[in-house]
């Protein structure tokens, strides 16, 4: 699975041999620049372009195409290369988009290892009048190669891009022109090749390519075209200088260094190398048009295709936030709210259609004449048709919104960090303990009956504000498919361990610790991934064990509370572990006496404020003997059943959502693997 990058995001690269695949809706030129450690290009030779498509470690395609493959071998690069920028250029030409704003679908780059393993993907969106764009960069930072999504466009075209990387404006302009010219033959539409070829015309007048090239590159292409023919036909500097001025007029003014660039043109002719195609290909006619001014209704240059009218393609991280995690968190909540609201609109419309049909039928039946005969049938049919029409339109807009949200979920889910990701997500395979606590953890998924396959992650902010209760009881909503009795309890404790591992994994090593109470030892098998990794001391057995663990945790809560109230955090005893703690209580209330129950309630109330949380695995029916005295305990905990249940409501509309508890794929060792990674990082 590949990570979907957003602009500015970077990612370490696991391989030194990379394949970057580029796809776009229109043919593009691809190139690369090799910059030094200051990010500057030391000379024109540092640009890999279609005229010079290979350098040690970098190979690019020589033609404009909609699909490209750029290969990088980072180990083979010369040592002064610290940054490779992959750039895309629109070749221009008749009938082709004049800027990236009208390229649909937008260019997409996917970075993969040579073995075909995907690493990252990036779609260039939000571009407008640019004709060249620095799409990605692969750079070395402290000995590690990373890839970063850049997406910096240049309305001034390739020359502006190269100048921005430190090339002298004149040589940047030459190089840009050479690049475009080198690919012009390929960029030309296929219907021209049979016309007679008059090389003299092309070279002598300095006119090259189609008008589209001029449009894309301003005057640069014109001066370069004069420079490109083989040496025997090369124009003198004087001719070259006059050519753009005479034929393309104002275009020359578009080059910042117009007069300076023109005399240099002959040197530029050497750049594309012997393999560069002739600049004036068959059938080119001279255009005396102003490159930017197009007569209305001219059939020569069809307007670029209109920008897509539909919604913008979704991308991961499309929300406000300081960090990617925060943006993804906000995006998930935004999707949650949008799904709640669009479903509310749909349900409201269907309810309305329902009640309207009811009223219309009542009215039809109230008229005794209409009860029999065709009038009644017609009224019924009309009411039914109106109902179908309204619900059909409601369904249409619901489907439109759901399609948008589904597309968003498809890009957001792969981009999620481990703490937000389901257990079968590849992020867990490469799990490494974080340096900072995660912002939130995923406690499961929610969905609505309108689109059960569209799942919204339940992201709960850290630190938790309340404890969790894994309900091992048979709730009213659990269907016949749910396991019963012992099976359900077993599932509950396994689910509790999943949540515990996730909470541990969301914190830096040593910042979050576990305690467990398991008086009957029924959870020993489920706790195995934790105890085996040394993340949890085997819980002591029996009522005495319960009391001992509770005493220890309560003492910590009391000490920290006292210190906080007294403003004397430095007075805490040195043996007090500052880590936040999660107390897992299995089989509550087995093994609990009244005193232990009181202490547990104390922990539920006072613990969250000082970083001690409860994870209670219990069946409420087992504790029925305590009567209503425990009701505040149950209501203070977030109930998370181990089987799908409809007990959670959203905060906006109040739909009943189906909660889907987390599931570890059968046979997956992900919990053990994460436990081992955590244990290893602690040492």
């Amino acid at each position: 699975m590949t990570a979907e990058l957003v602009r500015g995001q970077n990612l370490p690269l696991p391989h030194t041999r990379l394949e970057i695949r580029v796809s776009a809706g229109t043919p593009l030129l691809a190139g690369a620049t090799l910059a030094d450690d200051a990010g500057r290009l030391s000379g024109p030779g540092r640009v890999v372009h279609p005229g010079a498509p290979a350098r040690p470690g970098v190979t690019i395609p020589t033609r404009a195409a909609t699909e490209h493959l750029v290969t990088l071998d980072l180990a083979a690069l010369d040592p002064e290369t610290h940054r490779i920028t992959v750039l895309l250029v629109l070749p221009g030409g008749p009938g082709r988009p004049g800027s990236f704003g009208s390229v649909t679908p937008p260019p997409r780059l996917s970075v993969g290892g040579a073995a075909g393993a995907g690493v990252a993907g990036y779609t260039l969106t939000g571009l407008d009048a640019e004709t060249a764009v620095a799409a990605l960069e692969v750079y070395r930072r402290q000995g590690v190669w990373k890839v970063r999504a850049v997406g910096q466009g240049y309305a001034g075209g390739l020359s502006a891009l190269l100048a921005d990387q430190g090339l002298a404006p004149a040589s940047a302009a030459d190089l840009a022109a050479a690049t475009l010219a080198a690919a012009t033959a390929e960029a030309r539409p296929a219907h021209l090749p049979d016309a007679p070829y008059d090389a003299g015309t092309g070279a002598g007048t300095g006119i090259s390519a189609g008008p589209g090239t001029h449009a894309a590159t301003g005057g640069i292409a014109a001066s370069a075209a004069a420079a490109l023919p083989p040496a025997d036909r090369a124009a003198t500097p004087a001719q070259t200088a006059s050519a753009p001025a005479a034929t393309t007029g104002a275009a020359a003014a578009d080059i910042p260094s117009g007069p300076a660039a023109a005399p240099k043109a002959p040197t530029g002719a050497a750049l594309p190398g012997p393999q560069s195609p002739p600049s004036a290909p068959p059938g080119t006619t001279i255009s005396y048009q102003h490159p930017r001014r197009r007569p209305a209704g001219s059939g020569q240059e069809p307007a670029p295709p209109a920008p897509p009218s539909g919604p913008e393609a979704p991308w991961a991280g499309d929300a406000a936030g300081w960090t990617m995690d925060e943006r993804l968190y906000n995006q998930v909540w935004g999707m949650f709210e949008d799904l709640a609201r669009t479903t509310a609109a749909y349900r409201s419309a269907v309810d309305f259609a329902d009640s309207r049909r009811e009223q219309e039928l009542d009215r039809a039946l109230a008229d005794p004449r209409a009860r029999l005969g065709s009038a009644g049938d017609a009224a019924r049919a009309a009411a039914g048709a109106r109902y179908d029409e309204l619900t059909g339109r409601a369904r249409e807009s619901l489907d439109r919104d759901l399609a948008q949200l589904t597309a968003e979920a498809e890009v957001v889910e792969p981009a999620l960090p481990p703490a937000y990701a389901p257990w079968d997500h590849p992020a867990w395979q490469a799990y490494r303990p974080p340096a900072e606590p995660a912002m939130a953890v995923r406690l499961g998924d929610l969905h609505l009956p309108e689109r059960p396959e569209l799942r919204i992650p339940v992201l709960m902010r850290l630190p938790l504000e309340r404890g969790l209760w894994i309900d091992g009881g048979r709730g009213p909503a659990s269907g016949a498919a749910a396991p019963d009795g012992a099976g359900l309890r077993e599932l509950a404790v396994r689910t509790a361990v999943m949540h515990a591992v996730r909470l541990l994994a969301a914190h830096p090593p040593g910042a979050y610790k576990l305690d467990a109470v398991d008086p009957a030892g029924t959870g020993a098998a489920a706790f195995a991934p934790l105890t085996a990794a040394g993340l949890l001391a085997p819980p002591p057995q029996g009522a005495a064990g319960v009391a001992a663990v509770l005493d220890r945790v309560v003492r910590r809560v009391e000490l920290v509370r006292m210190a906080m109230r007294g403003g004397a955090a430095d007075a805490l005893p040195p043996d007090l572990d500052p880590a936040a703690r999660l107390l897992i209580v299995n089989d509550f209330p087995y093994g609990f006496d009244d005193r232990s129950v009181t202490r547990l309630r104390y922990l539920a109330d006072e613990g969250p404020a000082v970083g001690v949380h409860l994870l209670l695995v219990a069946d409420r029916a087992d504790a029925a003997a305590y009567g209503p005295v425990l009701d505040p305990l149950w209501s203070s905990l977030l109930r998370l059943p181990p089987v799908p249940d409809e007990h959670l409501a959203d905060p906006w509309v109040g739909h009943a959502w189906t909660y889907q508890p987390p599931v570890v794929p059968a046979g997956s060792g992900v919990l053990g693997g994460v436990g081992a990674a955590l244990a290893a990082s602690r040492r």
């Binding site: 609201r341 419309a349 807009s397």
Partner: protein, 192 residues
């Protein structure tokens, strides 16, 4: 170009280039009238509240007001309660945003109302206006001045309703009395 609307006037919300509006904002601005008399510079705070009622075939479905800031379907949003009005002129003190594309298919009218929550009549309010803005470009489409004061504590300002495939706005400007939109319901119904 701004249309200064008069009572009962209807304008189409089709754009001049043929496109339809996607998002409009109903802005409400006011200023407390200065008291006459010895302490003439002292003003009394006036709390006007803007509300929007969503109707489907004359049946009220949802209300957006200061205690329910977003309609359940998310199409109509109130930007929040302003208790004192503007110190200066021109700015919107309360706004209601309507995403016309997201309005549920069965909702065919949205009525905008203004109530004086603190009970002053419009005689004690200065420079009160409501205006309709194309939220996508900030252009003012229509402005309706709540002049004429009078012994009223509420006004049914305007309605946005479906017309063909697009939307139309009609200025209502009907005076009424009431503290919140609930008191206005009987007064709204004749305008649907």
């Amino acid at each position: 170009m701004t249309v200064n609307m008069t009572k009962g006037q209807a304008i189409s919300l089709q754009k001049s280039d043929g496109g339809t509006l996607t998002e409009v904002r109903m802005g409400l601005g006011w200023q407390a009238a200065k008291r006459r008399g010895l302490f003439g510079s002292r003003t009394r705070e006036v709390d006007l509240d803007a509300s929007a009622v969503l109707f489907a075939e004359k049946q009220a479905l949802d209300v957006v007001f200061f205690r329910h800031l977003v309609s359940d379907d998310g199409s109509v949003k109130h930007t929040g309660d302003n208790l004192v009005g503007g110190a200066g002129q021109g700015g919107d003190d309360e706004s209601i945003l309507v995403d016309l594309q997201r309005v549920p298919v069965h909702v065919d009218q949205i009525v905008f109302t203004v109530n004086s929550f603190t009970g002053q009549t419009f005689q004690e309010v200065q420079n009160a206006f409501c205006r309709l803005v194309d939220e996508t470009n900030g252009q003012e489409l229509a402005r309706y001045t709540l002049d004429g004061g009078g012994q009223y504590t509420a006004q049914i300002m305007a309605k946005v309703h479906r017309a063909g495939s697009g939307w139309q706005m009609t200025a209502l400007g009907a005076p009424a009395n009431g503290r919140t939109f609930k008191d206005l319901m009987p007064a709204i119904l004749p305008h649907l």
